[in-house]
C-alpha cells in the first residue's frame, strides 16, 4: 500500500525539532573552537582517526544511500545492490590521493586550490562550474529526500519537512563550521550504524529468504538476471560516479586537509570499508517489497517503506517509524551539513578570494562564510521545491564529476601535461556523458564522460606536454 505516516503530527515534529536543537546546540558548543577561518573551515587541521573515519563514512551515508540504494535494488535486482556499494571504492581510492594531496598542498584549503595551481584560471573556471552544479544537485537530492522522508514516515508536509531539515543543518553549520560538522557526523554515524544493524537484524529474522527468492524468480525474474543490461551498466557507472565525486569534491578535500597528515589515508580507507555493506543491507530490504506485498508507488521511498512494514510485522509498531525517522534524519543531516560547509568554503576561497580578488580577514571571516552557507542553502531550497525524482537529478550530474577523475589523477601524479587538452577533455566528457545519459541509457552518463575525459588526458601526456605548476613555498 501507499506509504502513509505511521507517526503523526506532533510526535514527528517533536522528534525532528529535538534532534535539530541537539545538533544546533552541539554546533554552538563546538563552534567556540573555531577562532579563525582555518579553524572554521578545516577544524584546525587536527582531526584524528576515529573522528576522521566517522565523518567520511557518515558523509557518504547520504539520503542517496538510504533511499537510492534500495531503489536500485528494487529496480535492478542483485546487481543493483552491488552497483550502489561500488561507490565505496571511491572512498578507498581516495586514501592514496589524500596522502599525495597533503604532500603537494601542505597549506591547501580545498580542491579549487589544486585546479587553479595545476590547470590555470581556465581549468579552474571549468572545475568551478562543474563542482558548483554538482554540489547544488547533490544538495537538492538530499533536501528532496529529506522532505519525502518526513512526509512518508512523519506525516510532515513535504515543503515543511524539506525546509526544516535545511534550516537545522544551516544553523549548526553556521555556528560551528567544520568542527560542528565533524562532531555531529561522529554521533550521526554511530546512530546510523546502530540503526541499520538493528533494522537489518529484524528484517533478516522476520523474512523468509527462500520464499523471497521463489517469489522474485516467478514474478520479477529480471531482478535475478545476471545479464540485465541496465544493472550491469549501473555497476560501472556508479563506481565511476563515486570516483569522480570523491576525487574532485571539496567535501573530501577539506576533510583530507582537516585530518592529521598521517591519519587521512587510513581514515578514508577505513571509512570505505565500513560503508561498503550499508547499501547492500539497505538494498536487500527493498528486494523484499514484492514478496511482502508492499505496493511501491514511489521507488525512492521503497527502503523506508519496506523497513517500516517489516518492523511493524515484528511487533515494533510506532517505534519502528521512530527508529527509521531518526536513522534517516541523521543520514541526511550528516551529508547536508558537510556539503554546505564544503561548498561555502569553495565560494569563499574561489569566488570571494579567487574571482573577486578580495582578501579574507582570518578573524572577521564569519559574515562571508555565513553568506556562502545561506546562499548555497537558498538555491538548493528553491530547486528542491520541485520535488523531482532524486535518482534522475543525481545520475544526471554523474557525467560532470566523472569527467574530472583523470584530470585529478594526472594533476596529482604526473609532472608534464598538455593542460589545454586536459581542459578540452573535461568539457568533452561532460558533453558526451550528458548526451549518453539522455540518448543512450540513464546509467551510461558517468561511464561515457569518464572514458572520453580519460582519452583526452592520456593523449595530453604525449602531445606537447609542459611541466605542471608546483605550489609556491
Amino acid at each position: 500500500m501507499t506509504p502513509t505516516a505511521s507517526i503523526h503530527g506532533g510526535a514527528s515534529w517533536a522528534i525532528v525539532i529535538t534532534l535539530g536543537i541537539l545538533w544546533i546546540g552541539l554546533g554552538m558548543l563546538w563552534g567556540r573552537k573555531a577562532r579563525d577561518s582555518e579553524g572554521f573551515m578545516l577544524a584546525g587541521r587536527n582531526v584524528g582517526l576515529a573522528l576522521g573515519s566517522a565523518t567520511a563514512m557518515a558523509t557518504w551515508v547520504t539520503s542517496n544511500t538510504t533511499m537510492i540504494a534500495p531503489l536500485l535494488a528494487f529496480e535492478k535486482g542483485i546487481w543493483g545492490m552491488f552497483a550502489y556499494a561500488s561507490a565505496s571504492f571511491g572512498l578507498m581510492l581516495f586514501a592514496p590521493l589524500a596522502f599525495r594531496i597533503r604532500r603537494l598542498l601542505p597549506a591547501g584549503f580545498g580542491s579549487g586550490d589544486f585546479f587553479r595551481m595545476r590547470y590555470g584560471r581556465t581549468g579552474w573556471a571549468v572545475f568551478l562550474i562543474i563542482t558548483l552544479i554538482y554540489s547544488i544537485a547533490w544538495l537538492v537530492t538530499m533536501a528532496i529526500a529529506g522532505g519525502k522522508l518526513l512526509e512518508a514516515v512523519g506525516g510532515i508536509p513535504y515543503v515543511h519537512g524539506m525546509t526544516l531539515i535545511l534550516v537545522v543543518c544551516v544553523l549548526y553549520t553556521l555556528f560551528g563550521g567544520l568542527h560542528a560538522v565533524i562532531g555531529t557526523d561522529f554521533i550521526q554515524s554511530l546512530v546510523i550504524l546502530i540503526g541499520i544493524v538493528f533494522i537489518g537484524a529484524v528484517v533478516a529474522v522476520n523474512v523468509d529468504i527462500p520464499s523471497i527468492h521463489r517469489h522474485i524468480a516467478r514474478e520479477q525474474p529480471a531482478l535475478l538476471d545476471v545479464m540485465m543490461p541496465a544493472a550491469l551498466l549501473a555497476i560501472f557507472n556508479n563506481m565511476l560516479f563515486g570516483f569522480g565525486e570523491v576525487m574532485h569534491n571539496n567535501v573530501w578535500w577539506s576533510r583530507a586537509f582537516a585530518m592529521r597528515a598521517r591519519i587521512a589515508p587510513k581514515a578514508f580507507f577505513l571509512s570505505g570499508l565500513l560503508w561498503f555493506p550499508i547499501p547492500i543491507a539497505a538494498g536487500f530490504i527493498a528486494l523484499a517489497a514484492g514478496p511482502l506485498g508492499v505496493n511501491v508507488t514511489d521507488p525512492s521511498k521503497v527502503g523506508p517503506q519496506v523497513a517500516e512494514h517489516v518492523l511493524g510485522m515484528a511487533g515494533f509498531g510506532g517505534f519502528a517509524s521512530v527508529v527509521i525517522l531518526i536513522v534517516l534524519f541523521c543520514s541526511i543531516a550528516s551529508s547536508i551539513d558537510s556539503l554546505l560547509a564544503a561548498t561555502s568554503d569553495l565560494l569563499v576561497r574561489d569566488i570571494y578570494e579567487g574571482l573577486l580578488r578580495r582578501t579574507l580577514d582570518p578573524v572577521r571571516f564569519r559574515p562571508v562564510a555565513a553568506t556562502g552557507i545561506i546562499a548555497v542553502a537558498s538555491v538548493a531550497w528553491l530547486l528542491a521545491l520541485s520535488g523531482l525524482a532524486i535518482d534522475r537529478v543525481l545520475f544526471g550530474a554523474g557525467p560532470l564529476v566523472a569527467s574530472l577523475i583523470w584530470p585529478v589523477i594526472a594533476g596529482l601524479f604526473w609532472e608534464k601535461l598538455n593542460r589545454h587538452l586536459v581542459i578540452a577533455g573535461m568539457i568533452a566528457g561532460c558533453v558526451t556523458g550528458l548526451w549518453s545519459y539522455f540518448q543512450v541509457q540513464t546509467y551510461t552518463g558517468a561511464l561515457v564522460g569518464a572514458a572520453v575525459s580519460m582519452a583526452f588526458t592520456i593523449i595530453a601526456r604525449f602531445i606537447a606536454p609542459k611541466p605542471l605548476s608546483v605550489p609556491s613555498a
Binding site: P221, A222, L223, A410
Partner: protein, 138 residues
C-alpha cells in the same frame, strides 16, 4: 435511473518505441483513474498477463492505491488491466488492456559499454596506485 458503470482508465508513462510503451530495464509505473461506478470503487485489482487474452492472469496488486511501480519484468510484451471492486465484493468492468514492451539494450552495445567501464575503472585504479608508488617518497 443509475448510470451504467464505466471502467477505470489505465496508463503508464514510458516512452513509445514502435508504437508501444517500452521499458529498457523491466520497470514500469502504472497509474489508473476510477471510472464511474455505483459504489465509487475505491478498491482496485491490477492484473498482468503474458498475452492479451488474460486466460491465466496474475494479480499484481489489490488495494486502494491508484498507481503501482512493477520491477523485474522479463523481456517481451506484458498486458495489464485494472478493475474497481466494491466493499461487498462486486467487481466493476475491466479497463481496456494496456500492453507494455520490455526490451533490453542489444548485447553488442552492452558489451562495448561494460567493457569500456571495466577498462576505465581498472585504468583509474592502476594510475592511482602507480602514481602513489612513484611519488610517495617525493
Amino acid at each position: 435511473m443509475a448510470a451504467e458503470p464505466s471502467p477505470p482508465s489505465l496508463s503508464c508513462d514510458l516512452p513509445l518505441r514502435d508504437g508501444l510503451p517500452t521499458s529498457d530495464d523491466g520497470t514500469v509505473r502504472l497509474h489508473w483513474q476510477p471510472g464511474r461506478s455505483p459504489d465509487s470503487g475505491e478498491f482496485f485489482r491490477l492484473e498482468k498477463s503474458p498475452d492479451g487474452s488474460f486466460r491465466n492472469p496474475l494479480v499484481r496488486y489489490e488495494g486502494s492505491d491508484r498507481s503501482s511501480v512493477l520491477s523485474g519484468l522479463p523481456e517481451g510484451d506484458h498486458h495489464f488491466r485494472v478493475r474497481a471492486l466494491s466493499d461487498d465484493g462486486t467487481a466493476g468492468p475491466w479497463s481496456a488492456s494496456t500492453t507494455i514492451s520490455v526490451r533490453f539494450m542489444d548485447r553488442h552495445t552492452l558489451f562495448a559499454l561494460v567493457g569500456t567501464g571495466f577498462l576505465v575503472a581498472s585504468a583509474s585504479v592502476g594510475a592511482v596506485i602507480a602514481g602513489f608508488i612513484k611519488t610517495r617518497k617525493k
